[in-house]
């Protein structure tokens, strides 16, 4: 096996120490930081995602793999910065004001990190101002979660507040949570809706790749921005 293959396997198996050693070895052998990131770590997490989607592993195994990846990235980061390699994007994520449910939100955050995104976890009971601050700080995507029928309405306030602040064309917005629907997401002017954590990651990829231009299927956003 090459060192890249060994790195991939170590991440899939959740062996953080081995993964870190393989990153170090890869750098010493002359592999670029971007190659180790893309062909080693990101490819490993894609395989982890595939195993999860096929029911071969569960979230606990994904978490262990994500920790191995994060440990490896810590070693790799100075080299990535020196080589001017950019992350896949930054996602600010939070549960809306008045709502404390965070397991779903945490799962999405964890799976986004495992896919190479930088995640700014704003926590729970997040007021609109904090979401706005996160956009001002450079979030490419804003992800909002709500589990109650009486708190999901806060999402509309956040979208409107971001528009009023003149930031709507700088960020793509995705929403999720048990009481939500695609239609509701469209109605409040969000760019995407995801019914579960796996699909949330896929939608974020699509949003940043421009595969969901402007709005959810069937309904355009009022301001047409993106």
């Amino acid at each position: 096996m090459t060192v890249i293959e060994e790195l991939r396997q170590a991440v899939i198996d959740g062996q953080a120490k081995v993964a870190v050693a393989k990153v170090t070895q890869g750098l010493e052998e002359g592999h670029s930081a971007e190659t180790l990131l893309q062909d080693g770590l990101i490819e490993a997490m894609k395989e982890v995602g595939r195993l999860f989607e096929e029911g071969e592993i569960f979230v606990p195994e994904m978490l262990v793999a994500a920790r191995a990846m994060n440990a490896s990235i810590t070693v790799l980061k100075p080299h990535l910065i020196a080589d001017e390699v950019r992350s896949s994007g930054t996602v600010a994520i939070g549960t809306v004001q008045g709502d404390l449910h965070d397991i779903g939100k945490n799962l999405v955050a964890m799976m986004l990190e495992g896919s190479g995104f930088e995640v700014n976890d704003l926590g729970t009971d997040v007021p609109p101002e904090s979401f706005i601050d996160a956009v001002r700080s450079g979030a490419d995507v804003l992800a909002m979660s709500a589990l109650l029928t009486t708190t999901m309405t806060s999402m509309k306030e956040v979208v409107e507040a971001i528009s009023r602040a003149g930031l709507r064309d700088r960020v793509r917005i995705i929403v999720g949570g048990a009481p939500l629907t695609s239609a509701y997401a469209s109605e409040i002017g969000a760019d995407a809706y995801a019914p579960d954590a796996s699909k949330a990651v896929r939608k974020v990829h699509e949003l940043l790749a421009g595969a969901l231009p402007g709005a959810l299927p069937g309904e355009g956003r009022a301001d047409g921005a993106l």
Partner: protein, 456 residues
């Protein structure tokens, strides 16, 4: 304090719907006295709650209760329970929750006088303590709001008080997602049990002062979270099944502090509590799919004394508004159970409920009456909440291993791997709480929990 160290129901054939050793009498209903009653819970459609929307909120609740009671009367149910599960805003503004309590009380009284419909009201204030992170469990504004909400709602006409308390959840959530059995044991067997004693001393005091019933708690935030995660494929089903059994000692604490049932509908640990305490339980299953999916839709009926829909939004369906539809579904479900009881066929019908689910999922298997009795006996044989929760894990895992070995249900390769992995974790659990707590304090994230709030 009542001590439960043996079973009230030790024969599986006595663990059946509609009857228990210690029925609870309230407002013309004898819960657990031979009849299963519907328990209806409802919630608002998408809308904000605030000063400006409270007139609409009041009207929504009044209309939901009125139409559901009318349907219950039309279907000639022998009685019903309405549950008002207060949302965070309705607990924080305790007067609002009390107003809604009074409104539902008035509707129940109206249908009693006009239609002869016996009805009782359960009110469940929201456990708001984790609005502060890490949660303040015993002091602070959120705790004060909760206490005031219990007090005002009891005064406003609640018959029964319940709560879905969340002590320990700040540690349990992470343990759940990591498949961390010692973490779950620390959350449930150490933190949650201590918090339950504190919370239920308050609830029992309020209930006693207002001469209403301290009903029961639910491990919803723990075991139902596990069930939903397992249903989505996020965690193993065997893990969710073990967590369910591990919540028993925690929920039992409410009874040791003075609760008398009926337990909360979403407390699927209810059959264990009924076997141990002899008090009636509320359960939910297939008719609760309006709120969440589950693999235990029929087997959950096996020992139910109240049969619930969990919660439904007030939205229009083709038949009627959703709460009225739920009322009808519950009425027919309980009618069948009551006919079976009247004909002396309750155990036969129960066994069909059991057989239809138990072989399809380990979470259903651990609710089989004979399994419940066996596990409950092993749990209460231990002297402390920690040891009871530890025993629950060990006993549940052994039961699952044995049952899988005998072909009682199928497990995927990944599930089998987790059954082995969890068993290995369980075998390493210390036999003394002090040494276990010492180990856990060294490894938990102390930024997430205020240990002093648990007396640690």
């Amino acid at each position: 304090m009542e001590r439960y160290d043996s079973l009230s129901i030790s024969d599986p054939d006595d663990l059946v719907f509609g009857r228990c050793c210690r029925p609870v009498r309230v407002d013309g209903l004898t819960i657990g006295g031979g009849t299963v009653y519907p328990e209806l819970n409802f919630t608002l459609p998408p809308m904000a709650i605030g000063e400006s929307t409270m007139p609409e909120v009041r009207e929504q609740y009044r209309q939901m209760a009125d139409e559901a009671c009318a349907r219950a009367a039309a279907l000639q149910v022998p009685g019903l329970v309405l549950e008002l599960e207060l949302l965070p805003e309705l607990t924080r503004e305790a007067q609002w929750g009390a107003e809604l309590t009074a409104s539902l009380r008035e509707r129940l009284d109206f249908y009693r006088s006009s239609h002869g419909l016996a009805g009782a009201l359960r009110v469940t204030p929201n456990d708001m303590r984790d609005f502060v992170r890490p949660p303040l469990m015993r002091t602070g504004a959120q705790w004060e709001h909760m206490v005031r909400s219990f007090d005002l709602c009891a005064e406003a006409g609640a018959d029964m008080l319940s709560i879905e308390s969340t002590g320990g959840k700040e540690i349990h959530d992470e343990a759940l997602l990591n498949g961390d059995l010692p973490g779950a044991l620390f959350a449930l067997g150490v933190l949650a049990c201590r918090d339950m004693a504190f919370v239920w001393d308050m609830v029992v005091e309020v209930a006693g002062r207002h001469r209403v019933i301290a009903a029961g708690d639910s491990a919803c935030g723990f075991a139902n979270t596990a069930m939903i995660l397992a249903e989505s494929g996020y965690i193993p089903r065997v893990w969710a099944a073990v967590v369910r059994v591990m919540t028993v000692a925690r929920s039992l604490v409410a009874y040791e502090r003075g609760a008398i049932g009926p337990s909360k509908d979403c407390a699927y640990e209810g059959p264990f509590l009924k076997a141990i305490t002899g008090y009636p339980i509320s359960m939910e299953g297939a008719e609760a799919a309006c709120a969440h999916l589950s693999p235990v839709g029929n087997i959950a009926r096996a020992a139910a004394d109240l049969w619930s829909n969990e919660s439904v939004q007030n939205v229009k369906l083709l038949g009627a508004m959703a709460p009225t539809v739920s009322m009808e579904q519950l009425a027919y479900a309980t009618r069948l159970m009551n006919v079976a009881s009247a004909r002396g066929k309750a155990v036969e019908l129960r066994d069909w409920f059991v057989e239809s689910d138990a072989g399809l999922d380990p979470q259903a298997y651990v609710l089989r009456p004979d399994v419940v009795i066996s596990l409950a006996a092993q749990i209460v044989a231990e002297p402390t909440p920690y040891l009871r929760t530890r025993r629950a894990a060990l006993a549940a895992l052994k039961a699952l291993r044995d049952a899988f070995g005998e072909g009682a249900f199928n497990l995927s390769r990944a599930e089998q791997r987790w059954l082995t992995r969890l068993s290995a974790q369980a075998e390493e659990l210390p036999t003394t709480e002090d040494s276990f707590t010492g180990e856990m304090l060294a490894r938990i994230d102390t930024k997430k929990v205020r240990l002093d709030q648990y007396g640690l």
